[in-house]
Structure formats: structure tokens, C-alpha cells
Amino acid sequence: MTAKSKESQIIKLAAKFKSAIGLIGLIIVMSFLSEYFLTVHNLMNITRQVSINAVLAIGMTFVILTGGIDLSVGSVLALSSVITAGLMSSGMNIALVLIIGIGVGTLLGLLNGLLVAKGRMQSFIVTLGMMTIARGLTLIYSDGRPISGFDKSFRFLGAGHVLGIPVPVIIMFALLAVSYVILKKTPFGRYVYAIGGNEKATELSGINTDKIKIGVYAISGFLASISGIILASRLNSAQPIAGTGYELDAIAAVVLGGTSLAGGQGGIVGTIIGALIIGILNNGLNLLNVSSFYQLVAKGAVILIAIFLDTRSQKRD
């Protein structure tokens, strides 16, 4: 049995590699097309650019694995971002500011979760409503104006480096590692998958499914606010319309990474691969100086090709 289970692990590993086919293919193609692409500097550049979407997409992965969706991440990002900026410019202690900024996002996520779990409403519409509300609150709080004028120390989060590596990239990988462990190694993570696979059976197994569901939306809100804060720091300004449309990019990263929107299947590593595909695509189209209208066509086409390759490489059953 051990020999066999090892064999199956190898098969699994191969399947995972295959889900990276699109990524590797893209990297190879880009390296040929542009001399600027495969440089340390540019790769650093890409990972830094990807980090915002990746952090959102990590949270989105939790939600999607339970079979839900979170459309509010972009607005929650903006709300946390302006609140953090606003409080900071009012001179509040920076630690407290961060706690409040992240707290607000987590709270909205929690609210999403409560409405989905206890209210038994469809996550799509709940988070669509929340997306609209959070955007409104952001505009009200900021009076529609960007907020700037930050502490030098705050800028470290978005623009700093440690050992030459950009801080957002470090944050992204740290969150990736923690999320990986949570999803693969803790009971909570296992329940996330179980709910996506069969919610009823999970409930009958004695698991408080409501709590888990509330948890995943809270995590998504939490991560959205973290990325909002990184973004504000990176831009040195909190934008009230930041994050518009980011939910679609985050979902695209998750799906490109091989996670099924039906829930129960997929994982965080794929999500990062998906986010990288999108990031490389954006970077590459710029490097190649593809004109903006054609960029849209190219981007859409590459997404379709990547997902097509990935689907092909998965065993049909």
C-alpha cells in the first residue's frame, strides 16, 4: 500500500506541475519575445506588482473552496486603505491605526460571512451588496478625495526592501505559507474543503459549518484590508476608487490556478501561479509595447489558452 500511495503522490505532483504549464509556457514565450523580461530586476518587479492581487486571491481561495465567492474584496481594500490613511494623517499611533484598518476589513468580511451562513443568502449577491456599500462608505469617509501624507515608516510596507527583496513580496510569501499550512494541515482547512465538497455531509459529521463559512469570509476581508494597506503605502496615497474590478482579477487568479468555483477542489499554490500568469501577462504586454486596445484582446486570449491547457491536462472523470 505504501508503494502505491507513493505512486499516487507522484501522480498528484505531476498534476500540480501541469497546472503550472500555462505559467512556464508564458515565461518561455516572453523570454524569447523580450530581452527585458528575464532579468532579476524585472522578475522582482513582477512579483511586487503581483503581490496586491495575490494577497486578495489568497483570501478568495478560502471563500471559493467552500463554494462561495467574494465580490467585495476590491471595495473592502479601498475602505481599509482610506481609513488607515485618514487615521494616520490625524496623527494616531501607527500600530493602532493598522489594527483599526485591518479590523474594519475583517469586520465587513465577518458580516458577509454572517449573512451567507446564518442568513442563508447567496454569497454572490451578499458580497455584491457589500461591494457597493463599502465603496459608498469609502467615498463618504474620504469625501471622494485621495488621502496622502504618510509617515516615512509606513512607506516601508509597500516600498521598502529587506535583503533586496521588496516588502510586499515578503508579506505575500509569508501569507502564502501560513495559508498553505492552514488549508492543508489544520482541521479548519480540511473543513473548508469538506464544505465545498458536500456541505450537508460535513454538517452531519458534527462540524459547525456556519462557523467555518463565517471564518473564510472574515479571512478574505482581513486579507483585503492588508492588501489595501500595502497598496496605500506603495502608492503613498489612499485612493477612494482603488480596487475597482480587482475582484475579477482575484477570481481569475484562483480559477487559473485550478480551483473549481464549485468548491472543494484546488489550493493556494495554484492561486499564486494564477496570479503570476496575470502579472506576467500585464508586464509582458507592456514590455512588448502592445497597444492598449490589442492588449485586451491578447490578455483575454491568453487567459483562455492557459485555462484550456490546464483543463486538458487534468484527467477527465
Binding site: 527585458y36 532579468t39 496622502s148 514590455l287
Partner: protein
């Protein structure tokens, strides 16, 4: 600074805020045409109105070793980081249409949106004999154009005691929205003398709504896009505040050339606004 000009061609990076509006398409076309005329290379990136995307794509431009950066910021504060990156790579920066609130900008080329708002207010006041009810159609909440034009317009109107802004509603710079929002406002406001829209797309939408309702209202738009200029000629809208996007683009290229040749350039190059009426 001549190292980058190894092939003798000036390489201009142009970061435009969005292409979702003829105004910017004109600006881009003006810029690209001028560059071609002068034999320069232009690398254009489009931020789709997303400040973070703009930052990323400017980083990409810097990667490609541009000689001059021309940026039309999505937002004046958010663009600072990008400008600083360019500064660090010794790439001179020109801002167009919208300004930056930091970093080292060699030249800023723009028309003044606040002034344009005031201009529209004064024109309307004159048309309605300094008394009456006006409606404001706002652009996308949170964008600088909406902010500045609204600010200028309201400052302008405040000067006239007998003019009242009876409704101020967002229609997102969008023609379809301009139409529906105006239709709705027409339901609740039985008396409207004039409408100011933050751009022409909304003004043209409002025009359709007003025509459909068979009412007679003075309309003022902003941008002077082709359709709007035609509508002014046809007497369907009263005026549009003309920016000269194509000229902004052209001047940007000329300025870039001067900078590359180490000539002295003005810090703020104002492109005149004019009222097309």
C-alpha cells in the same frame, strides 16, 4: 543624457490614465502623430483608470529604458511613487492633463479643470440672466476631473444668489448613464433652466433625455469631442468647454525633445481652454 539614444531615436514612454474616453484617445493620437513626425519612438501604456496599474506599467516602461516619461496620472498623489522611480533612474518626467503632487516633474502641460468649471458656471449664469435652477451631472466619484470641475462649477455658481443647484447626481462620465439619470431628474424637477455635465458624453446623453421629454433646457458639456461640437453647431447644446487634448499631446512631445536636448522648458505649460458655443 544621451546614453539611451544609441539608435539616435528618442524613446518616449507615455502612461495614459485611460482610453475609455475620446478625450484621451485624442491626446494619445496627437502625441503619437507628433512623435512620428519627429521620428521618435513612443511606448504607450494604459492604466484603465487604476492608479496601481499605472504604477506597475510605469515600472515596466522604466525597465525598457525610456528616455522621457510622459504621464497622464490617474491620480496626482498615487503617481508620486512612479515619478520617484523614474527620477531614480534619471528619466525626466512630464505630466499631462492632470498634475502630480510630488516627485521631480520637469514640466506640466494641462488645461485647468477648476477654471473650466468656473467658465461653465459663468456662461450658464449669463444665459439664464443670473437666476434660475440648474442641474449638475457629475463624473465618476473620486476622479480628479469630477472633483475639480465640480469644485470650479460650484464656486462659480455660488457667486450668483439667485441661481440654485437643484440636483447634483453622478452619471459616471457615461452617455447611457447621463441619459437615464437626466430622465429621472426630469421627473422630479419640473423647472430646470440649465444642465452642466462634467463631460460631453454625459451632456449628450442628457440632451437625448431632454429632447425625449420635449423640454427646453440649456446644456453645457466639457471636452469638445466631435459629437458635442456638432451638437453645438446644430443648436442642441449651448456650449462645451473645450480642452485641446490633441494639442496637449503634441506639446508633450515637443517638450520632451527640448528636455532631451537639454533646453530649458517652462514648468507649467498651460494649454488654453475655450468655450465652444
Amino acid at each position: 543624457k544621451d546614453g539611451a539614444k544609441d539608435d539616435g531615436k528618442l524613446k518616449i514612454g507615455f502612461a495614459v490614465s485611460t482610453q475609455n474616453n475620446p478625450f484621451f484617445v485624442d491626446m494619445k493620437n496627437g502625441l503619437e502623430a507628433k512623435a512620428e513626425e519627429l521620428g521618435f519612438e513612443v511606448l504607450t501604456v494604459d492604466a484603465q483608470d487604476d492608479a496601481a496599474k499605472q504604477l506597475s506599467s510605469i515600472e515596466d516602461l522604466i525597465m525598457k529604458g525610456i528616455d522621457v516619461l510622459v504621464v497622464n496620472p490617474v491620480d496626482g498623489d498615487a503617481v508620486v511613487t512612479a515619478i520617484e522611480s523614474a527620477n531614480n533612474s534619471n528619466i525626466p518626467v512630464i505630466t499631462v492633463d492632470r498634475g502630480a503632487n510630488g516627485g521631480e516633474v520637469t514640466a506640466h502641460i494641462a488645461s485647468d479643470n477648476v477654471a473650466g468649471g468656473v467658465m461653465a458656471a459663468d456662461f450658464i449664469a449669463e444665459k439664464i440672466n443670473k437666476a434660475g435652477k440648474v442641474v449638475e451631472l457629475e463624473g465618476i466619484a473620486g476622479t480628479s476631473a469630477a472633483r475639480d470641475r465640480g469644485k470650479g462649477f460650484n464656486q462659480g455658481i455660488d457667486k450668483y444668489d439667485s441661481i440654485e443647484v437643484v440636483a447634483s447626481q453622478p452619471a459616471d462620465f457615461n452617455r447611457a448613464k447621463g441619459m437615464t439619470v437626466m430622465e429621472n431628474i426630469l421627473q422630479s424637477q419640473r423647472e430646470i433652466d440649465a444642465v452642466f455635465a462634467h463631460n460631453d458624453s454625459m451632456a449628450l446623453g442628457a440632451m437625448e433625455a431632454i429632447e425625449g421629454a420635449g423640454r427646453d433646457i440649456i446644456i453645457v458639456g466639457f471636452d469638445a469631442i466631435d459629437d458635442a461640437v456638432q451638437a453645438v453647431k446644430d443648436g442642441k447644446i449651448a456650449a462645451t468647454v473645450a480642452q485641446q487634448p490633441s494639442l496637449i499631446g503634441e506639446i508633450a512631445v515637443e517638450t520632451a525633445q527640448k528636455i532631451a536636448n537639454e533646453e530649458v522648458v517652462e514648468e507649467f505649460i498651460k494649454v488654453p481652454l475655450k468655450l465652444v458655443k
